[in-house]
Symmetry: C2
Subunit: 389 residues, 2 copies
């Protein structure tokens, strides 16, 4: 039977057809009025998505490059950094600190849990000399969303910068960069921004700019945000940017702007709620205690082979989910619904999941997952007045 | 009058239509057998283009990121680096050294000249403790080609690594990475490789691998080549790569392989020779004493406004040349003929140049430039035996 290929990995995610076609347009020069005009437009729309009035620096790199740029530009060598760790991506902050000789203070919770604001409060009290606090908006490894708003309230009155990995969260779930006192918010192109991987973005607050200016011992070149912020004032970049990607990003950003960022957040919330309802309806146990909106993570039922489950979804139905990483390999499945994803995509994913679980001998009432999801979607339908005949 | 847009900037350069269309294909997952297969193929073809048996690491960054990666991964902090500087791109090596606290020993020549091997010989004699020698294959700012083969002979017997910026030269002019003892050769996607900007590549010799292993004080994360080399053994990358670009690169690389790398070098030599002949035929003075094959640089004739010349080429004829940078701004024009460029493209560029020079009052015999170029191309025609009637 014909099955379309459907990508449900938590990055890369699908891109709209008109964005992909934009990537096929002829190559153009990057030091040109044409490019400066495009970058100015993209910058405006990025600020809208980030909910910030501050510059959002584009980098040609993966999201990890953006994380590194944020930290090395603002934190002087040898200084203390509080890392809030709820999974593999929080661990990346710790690893970046190690590579550059920052002293990481690790606040770690078990996989599946979110970091409690009280834990940060305690860490800040114990380490008033911390130069930065690193957090993760959406922990892609476990599907957990962290309470960035609460973190911001705690960090704002201190000298520390709040640095947030928003890679799989920004443009998916609420993240009000300025209002929540996020000094450096990082994202990548291949998630909510509906683009292929290759670009990262970092917003830079006034507090972060001051820290950069005082950071005279900075050891960075390609990722030196001071240069990038200065160049951005002329709608330019210090190094040759992936200019055809930035041109294509403009198309995806127009979509987000047309939908409206609060509607985008609401859409993802609804998709996540439907995915959770669907998975629970076939007896799966959710993994994240405080779930993010961009992906839904469930434990593989006891007795089932998680890798086999993923293989069957892909081979038999063209549905590409992701599994767990490192110690979670084989133990969880991850269904992403972020970016260019609508309610019927989620229904397809749940329908395939039902069929594979059934085939593998897991007790499933056919239609239970899709019906549960559909009930969530139905709540958004505005019923017309019934006209009496 | 209709004029097609023709891009003659020394990066980005045009890409073949089938490569651009590949970029418009649906996005796919990067941690997959599909991607590993693509990367394995790309890796083989990159080795062919680099003339190396060693790994060629793909990075998601501009070429500058590749230069940084080569240096920070292999050179311990505080060590001495000999920078051979023949222009703005040689100066970039010096600036990277400064940013990371390497002690740069600068060997500088005037713009338009190449670094003499004897200068390197002297620098190596004076600084036997140098950890690396940084050179530029094609100095894009001036159109000069440097004698990497001679540099390699001098560096090979020393403990220093030869690190070459091949960004606008590799895949254009002869560069036999292994045979010439280049330890780390860097290039970008947007030149000879006929792709948009966004990827960089670094070849890594055994000598470089040893240096990396001994460099325990390395301060790098995203650009740590040790991680990249290790992951490449599994046809994988440490961070989310720009996987759809790597898929498209495969298409461009197949073209290079089909043409044959020595034929590619010969094509660029011929294009460069024709461009030089054409420019000289209308009285322009060439800027580079030892010209590279990827671009041809001429001085703006006295009395003419160089910026106006470039503007007219673009506005009236759709021909996008590049001007000079920094202190060379307005003083030179740069015509790139690298990557997806054939002899009739060069003819179009020269034809437009003739017309604009004519319009600006520069004495030009119409047809002089194109005829001179055509005489170069005609030499490649194999004339059939004339059959006596």
């Amino acid at each position: 039977m014909l099955h379309k290929q459907r990508l449900f990995t938590p990055g890369p995610t699908p891109a709209p057809e008109e964005t992909l076609l934009e990537l096929a347009k002829p190559i153009f020069y990057h030091r040109s009025a044409e490019f400066r005009q495009i970058l100015a437009e993209v910058e405006e729309d990025l600020k809208y998505v980030f909910c910030t009035r501050n510059p959002v620096v584009p980098l040609t790199s993966s999201g990890t490059g953006g994380m590194e740029a944020a930290l090395v530009s603002c934190v002087p060598p040898g200084r203390k950094v509080i890392c809030l760790i709820s999974g593999r991506w929080g661990e990346r902050w710790r690893n970046i600190c190690k590579a550059f000789g920052f002293e990481a203070v690790n606040v770690t919770v078990a996989y599946g849990k979110a970091v409690e604001p009280s834990q940060l409060q305690q860490a800040l009290a114990e380490h008033p000399d911390a130069a930065a606090v690193c957090a993760t908006l959406s922990e892609t490894a476990t599907g957990v969303g962290n309470d960035i708003e609460a973190f911001g309230k705690l960090v704002a009155p201190t000298p520390a910068l709040l640095v947030v990995d928003g890679i799989s969260g920004l443009g998916v779930m609420e993240c009000r960069t300025d209002e929540w006192h996020v000094d450096l918010c990082v994202t990548g192109s291949q998630k909510a921004l509906m683009m292929p991987p290759g670009l990262a973005f970092v917003s830079v607050s006034d507090k972060a700019v001051k820290a950069m200016e005082q950071n005279t011992a900075v050891r960075a070149f390609y990722f030196d945000l001071r240069k990038a912020v200065a160049k951005l004032k002329e709608n330019d970049t210090p190094w040759t940017s992936a200019n055809t990607m930035i041109r294509a990003l403009r198309v995806s950003l127009k979509r987000l702007r047309a939908e409206g960022i609060e509607n985008v957040w609401a859409r993802h919330s609804r998709l996540a709620e439907a995915a959770r309802a669907g998975m629970q309806a076939v007896g799966l146990e959710l993994f994240a205690e405080r779930p993010a909106s961009g992906l839904t993570v469930a434990r593989v039922p006891a007795g089932l082979d998680g890798n086999e489950l993923l293989r069957k979804l892909e081979k038999q139905y063209g549905l590409k989910f992701a599994g767990g990483q490192d110690t979670l390999k084989g133990k969880i499945i991850r269904l992403a619904h972020m970016g260019y994803c609508d309610q019927f995509d989620v229904l397809a994913a749940l329908a395939g999941l039902e069929l594979v679980l059934l085939e593998m001998g897991h007790p499933v009432e056919p239609g239970a997952a899709v019906a549960a999801a559909q009930r969530v979607f139905a709540r958004a339908v505005k019923v017309s007045q019934v006209v009496a005949v």
